[in-house]
């Protein structure tokens, strides 16, 4: 599974396409509908994607393009409140209980 920043010139989606990784892309149409729906927790969609992958026992989750600590520790909320930062925070909080260990910029399954 590949996570990271959106980038029209590649980013995590480009990495996933190029290297055969699994990635989650909400897409503009779905995003617009979610924001108009009044749903108060859109991140729940990303969270469910991560839960599905961890429960399926995917071998690793790689965060590409940036050091995860530069994202979660950024004093700039434009970075530290981004969806990718929320994904990192969620994994730091929850990946361990699914048997994953943080190694560098990746969460690796160590207890299948």
């Amino acid at each position: 599974v590949v996570l990271g920043a959106y980038d029209p010139n590649g980013g995590y989606i480009g990495d996933g396409v190029e290297n055969g990784g699994i990635f989650f892309d909400t897409g503009k149409e779905v995003w617009d509908n979610l924001t108009k729906s009044g749903l108060d927790d859109i991140f729940a969609v990303n969270e469910q994607f991560l839960i599905n992958q961890l429960e399926a026992g995917v071998k690793r989750i790689d965060f590409v393009g940036e050091d995860i600590w530069n994202v979660v520790n950024s004093p700039d909320p434009n970075i530290s409140t981004s969806f990718r930062a929320k994904e990192i925070n969620w994994l730091l909080q929850n990946a361990k209980k699914y048997g994953y260990e943080l190694q560098g910029n990746s969460w690796v399954l160590v207890q299948p």
Partner: protein
């Protein structure tokens, strides 16, 4: 609708939303605080973030201190400050007000997702921010009048955030 008409309609929609957001801020205690601190509103901007997220920015200025009120639809509403001599809002190094307040009060950093769908919740969030900001507002704004001071503050804040992250996730 053709592409041109759609773009025009979208532009009008974003302009109307910015006007509404600005009015909500100006008529709030936060707006009053901005006046008391000698800030002037100088920017109303819509941007696209991360491909398709609508980001609205209401910008204030007091000498070299820039203050932005940011609303990313479907994600967050927050206030950030920057020091700059430049007029280009895209170049600023923003520092979150929530982080600054936590640092000054030596409190854990709040990282809970602030859900802000709709203007009513924006008003609630704005009230929360104002209540926390008022006691330390003069101190914070005075820090942002000097570039060197802001550089030192940024370094200290980065250490504080790293320590907070370590504690929060029990990291070595």
């Amino acid at each position: 609708l053709g592409v041109g008409a759609t773009m025009k309609r979208d532009k009008l929609f974003h302009q109307a939303f910015l006007n509404e957001l600005s009015e909500v801020i100006e008529n709030s205690e936060f707006g009053q605080l901005m006046t008391n601190l000698n800030f002037k509103q100088i920017l109303r901007q819509h941007k696209i973030k991360d491909g398709f997220h609508n980001l609205y920015i209401i910008g204030y200025e007091s000498k070299q201190c820039k203050l932005g009120v940011f609303y990313e639809v479907g994600n967050v509403f927050f206030v950030a400050l920057a020091f700059s001599l430049s007029n280009s809002w895209d170049e600023y190094k923003w520092i979150g007000l929530d982080y600054l307040i936590s640092y000054i009060n030596k409190e854990p950093i709040t990282r809970e997702i602030k859900r802000t769908p709709g203007m009513e919740n924006i008003k609630i969030r704005l009230t929360e921010i104002t209540e926390k900001f008022i006691p330390v507002s003069v101190q914070i704004v005075s820090l942002f009048q000097d570039g060197e001071q802001v550089s030192k503050l940024t370094e200290l804040l980065e250490v504080y955030i790293r320590e907070d992250t370590r504690r929060r996730y029990n990291l070595k």
